[in-house]
């Protein structure tokens, strides 16, 4: 199971590395799954769902960008803009606290120590900006999915505001949960109505599109990176060994991993995600002529499996990774037991945070994008949000408007007072300004200032981690370079509600990817699994998506 166990600090955000690709591979998709009942259109529970419906323009908020600070590394093709300095003059984007003094409940995940509720000066400061109180029900992020599934199955227990990470989306989410439990925001944010909430209108349209279910707007986003993954290597260790990697194709990487293996050190972790990236395996479907081809049927998928199997066969994979102990991969990589690892881009600064203290020379570096055959790489654009939140369904219009006004405060972008308080807390309490103007967290920050509000809604991403020397520059430039190769996958930014009966047909491939990589099964088994997949619902699933495609 996926685990992210690192303690997080100010404004850190969990980016779940394996979850996105994993879920897509599992066929469970990021979409919810309706029961046979509603799919047949009986609509007993008042949920007329239209699975592939695309949101019309009047449902999506009008995009009105606001820029408070000019980025030093502007966004290329959607890459995260980078900022080398923190502005000294901050703007208050919402001059008056919009709240009415109400107390709202909110459920959020946390990968860290749960902060105290009583006398928490961080909560007091943010609630002061809001004018209402948000009372958090915080659950450990690693088990958040279990809690979420239980809470959502019992309408009475649903709090006013619920965070839903995309990797925790339970089956039947889009078809049954969203319309029954959550507030349709289309009439409040659709089109120009969003201009009442300027910080929400500052969030790009694709992000909002991903928050629509069955053609209506429901979610408030936590925007995600367009480049989700990177192939990291331990540059500091390789420098020490006198190796300057020059990886131009898949074979180069295999050779490097082999070369680095020896003694109690191994070249790589399980690089299945890397294999998928360098072979441009489509996230779900690709178009071959005018026919939809599922990822497991593609040549890219086969080639990626063969490549990963070659990596395992070379003996360069750490034995604990061979034993599928993926949870400790980061520990092995950061302690230098393995030297190449696939991870989410967010893991980069987290690793610096966790390691620079004990090892000032620590540096992990992503390889420049390359294709397995040495040609032009294709990187599939990451979904525009990783986490969203939903408001509990209510008939009280004022309540919805108030909650959206609160969201507007929380979505204030980099360069505003609100952003600063939400991410850094109160000056003199949670941080002090160092000589270079950088915020230095106080011990109190570690207990009180855990990410909570950020999971409700967040502004567009900004790379502002100036505290790690060289990080903003290196990571921004790498992202700008990688963004050149971005390609939108089919059905990009669409929430497609797959029928329930297809949920499990992708399961054998999750096992098969592990089995073939580890040499326990062959490509013949893949052929057979693909045949089974086609026979047990794959063809129907294809027609299902074909219809959606034709309707676009």
């Amino acid at each position: 199971m996926n685990t992210t166990t690192t303690t997080r600090r100010v404004g850190d955000v969990p980016v779940r590395r394996r979850s996105f690709l994993g879920m897509v591979a599992a066929g469970a998709a990021v979409a919810g799954v309706p029961s046979l009942l509603t799919a047949c259109g009986s609509g007993g529970a008042g949920t007329a769902t239209t699975p592939g419906a695309t949101a019309s323009a009047d449902v999506l908020p009008t995009y009105v960008p606001v820029d408070y600070v000019e980025p030093d590394y502007p966004s290329v093709n959607g890459s995260t803009p980078g900022y080398e300095t923190i502005p000294t003059e901050l703007v208050q984007s919402v001059p008056e606290a919009p709240g009415s003094g109400t107390t709202f409940t909110a459920m959020t995940p946390l990968w860290g120590t749960i902060p105290p509720t009583k006398g928490n000066q961080y909560y007091e400061a943010v609630n002061g900006l809001l004018g209402s109180t948000i009372e958090f029900q915080i659950t450990d992020g690693n088990t958040y999915g279990d809690k979420l599934a239980t809470v959502l199955a019992s309408a009475r227990d649903v709090p006013d505001w619920v965070t839903v990470p995309t990797w925790n989306i339970p089956p039947r989410f889009g078809s049954e949960i969203v319309p029954n439990l959550f507030q349709d925001l289309s009439d409040h944010l659709g089109g120009d109505k969003a201009k009442d909430y300027p910080n929400l209108a500052n969030i790009p349209t694709d992000v909002w599109r991903f928050c629509t279910f069955n053609g209506r707007l429901y979610g408030l986003p936590f925007p995600g990176e367009v480049i989700t993954d990177a192939i990291f290597y331990r540059k500091d260790v390789l420098d020490e060994l006198g190796i300057t990697p020059d990886v131009q194709d898949g074979q180069d990487l295999l050779d490097l991993a082999k070369e680095l293996t020896g003694g109690n050190r191994w070249g790589a972790e399980d690089l299945w995600n890397t294999a998928a990236i360098i072979h441009a395996v489509p996230p779900r479907w690709k178009l071959d002529g005018d026919k939809l081809v599922h990822r497991v049927e593609t040549e890219e998928y086969r080639a990626a499996l063969e490549w990963n199997a070659a990596l395992f066969a070379s003996g360069a994979v750490h034995p604990d990774a061979v034993a599928d102990q993926a949870g400790d991969a980061k520990t092995r990589f950061q302690s230098g037991q393995s030297l190449i690892m696939n991870d989410g881009v967010g893991a980069w600064h987290e690793a610096l945070r966790d390691n620079l203290g004990s090892n000032p020379a620590y540096w992990q570096q992503p390889f420049a994008p390359f294709a397995a055959d040495g040609g032009t790489p294709v990187l599939w654009k990451g979904q525009p949000a990783n986490i969203f939140s939903f408001l509990k369904k209510t008939d009280d219009e004022d309540r919805i408007r108030e909650l959206l006004a609160l969201a507007n405060v929380l979505a204030a972008p980099f360069g505003t007072t609100e952003f600063d308080v939400v991410n850094n807390g109160v000056e003199g309490v949670h941080y002090t300004r160092g000589a270079d103007g950088l915020p230095v967290p106080t011990p109190l920050a570690a207990t009180e200032l855990q990410p909570t509000y950020v999971f409700l809604v967040s502004p567009p991403l900004a790379n502002t981690r100036v505290q790690y020397p060289g990080y903003v520059q290196t990571s921004s430039e790498w992202q700008q370079q990688a963004a050149e190769y971005l390609t939108e996958p089919l059905f990009y930014a669409q929430q497609i509600v797959e029928p329930a009966q297809y949920a499990a047909i992708g399961q054998p491939f999750v096992d098969l990817e592990k089995d073939i990589s580890r040499g326990r099964k062959s490509m013949k088994d893949l052929d057979q699994a693909v045949e089974t997949w086609r026979a047990s619902g794959g063809e129907e699933l294809r027609s299902f998506y074909q219809e959606i495609l034709d309707a676009q």
């Binding site: 599992a26 469970a28 029961s35 529970a45 034995p319 102990q325 993926a326 089995d515």
Partner: protein, 342 residues
């Protein structure tokens, strides 16, 4: 052991030095040598057993709330259920889910793996605590005995995550053994943790290490009830160590062994969910997918609750039949088994 069981044992203990010899010939072993009981009225029985019944009440209440009421939820096995529609509104689909369960090759694979693991462990795990208990029992110094006892109990309190990690650190490809081999220049191919062919042995090793010590408790308790006079008498009659064990110790242990065997049979289709799901990725689903993990993936991960409930129910019914059958068999051999109609 239940209270009733203990009482019954006490009642049986006095007159029958050799239950087998007596029971084997008797046509109805359940009535062995007792005078016919006069049927008492409900009221008299209530008055007689009132205090006992009262004592049982909390346990029964817990059972009802946490075991029997949830069992009603099994109704979803005949529905196309979704928690967002509820029990009431989910449509009934007859036996369709069961048909799917039995026609699914993956489920049948899981059943096969489960049975293989059970059979293997029955032979190589079940007798270990008995042997250990006999060995411990033969140690006379109490101090040494309690020390050994504590050491072998301890792993029982480790979670499976920990056990698997410890094994990975020792038997894994980056573990202690392989490291030592590599440093000695004896090759580096040793990796017990990812070898599907030896997975059965690995599983059993882990179970033995973790739970064999715990399992000896019951046997030690049974051994402590053997009156020392029997050993003395046997010794006086010239029985050596082995004959004393064969004729005194083992017969004393037999009811407990049979009781545990029956209980084990009831659990035949349960082979350690955590232990397996933790290592499923390391050796592959082909050898490590058992009924419980299969139900988990289908139900919890893929949201096919009704299908998973049907598979789980099949398992439950088979387990119940196994217990009933084994109990019957025990009666035939003159043992009291798990329970007996009085």
């Amino acid at each position: 052991m239940s209270l009733g069981q203990t009482l019954r044992n006490r009642r049986d203990a006095t007159p029958s030095p050799d239950p087998v010899a007596e029971g084997a010939g008797a046509p109805a072993p359940s009535r062995r040598g007792r005078p016919p009981v006069r049927k008492l009225s409900l009221r008299t029985r209530l008055r007689r057993d009132g205090a006992l019944l009262l004592m049982v009440l909390p346990a029964v209440a817990l059972l009802v709330v946490f075991a029997y009421v949830p069992m009603l939820g099994n109704v979803i096995a005949w529905q196309s259920y979704s928690p967002y529609t509820g029990f009431v509104d989910s449509p009934f689909v007859g036996w369709a889910n069961f048909v799917r369960v039995f026609s699914n090759p993956l489920f049948l694979d899981a059943v096969q793996n489960t049975l293989v693991i059970t059979a293997f462990q029955l032979v190589f795990f079940f007798p270990v605590p008995i042997v250990l208990a006999l060995l411990l029992n033969s140690i006379v110094t109490p101090r040494v005995r309690t020390t050994i006892q504590s050491i072998v109990y301890l792993p029982h309190f480790f979670s499976w995550v920990l056990v698997v990690t410890v094994f990975q650190q020792i038997f894994g490809g980056a573990g202690l053994i392989n490291q030592t081999l590599r440093e000695a220049g004896l090759g580096s191919g040793f990796d017990l943790m990812t070898n599907p062919d030896t997975f059965l042995v690995l599983l059993t090793m882990q179970s033995v290490w973790k739970d064999a010590g715990w399992g000896i408790i019951i046997f030690l308790a049974a051994l402590s009830t053997v009156p020392p006079e029997q050993y003395e008498a046997a010794a006086v009659d010239g029985a050596n160590r082995w004959r004393r064990m064969w004729h005194v110790t083992l017969p004393a242990l037999r009811p407990v062994i049979i009781l545990l065997l029956i209980l084990r049979l009831g659990d035949a289709l349960t082979v350690g969910f955590e232990q397996l799901i933790l290592q499923r990725g390391a050796v592959g689903a082909d050898v490590a997918e058992v009924i419980d993990t299969y139900v988990y993936y289908q139900g919890v991960i893929y949201g096919d609750w009704s299908f998973a409930a049907a598979a789980g129910l099949v398992k439950g019914v088979v387990s119940l039949l196994l217990v009933l059958g084994a109990n019957k068999l025990a009666h035939v051999f003159g043992e009291s088994g798990v329970y007996r109609k009085s």
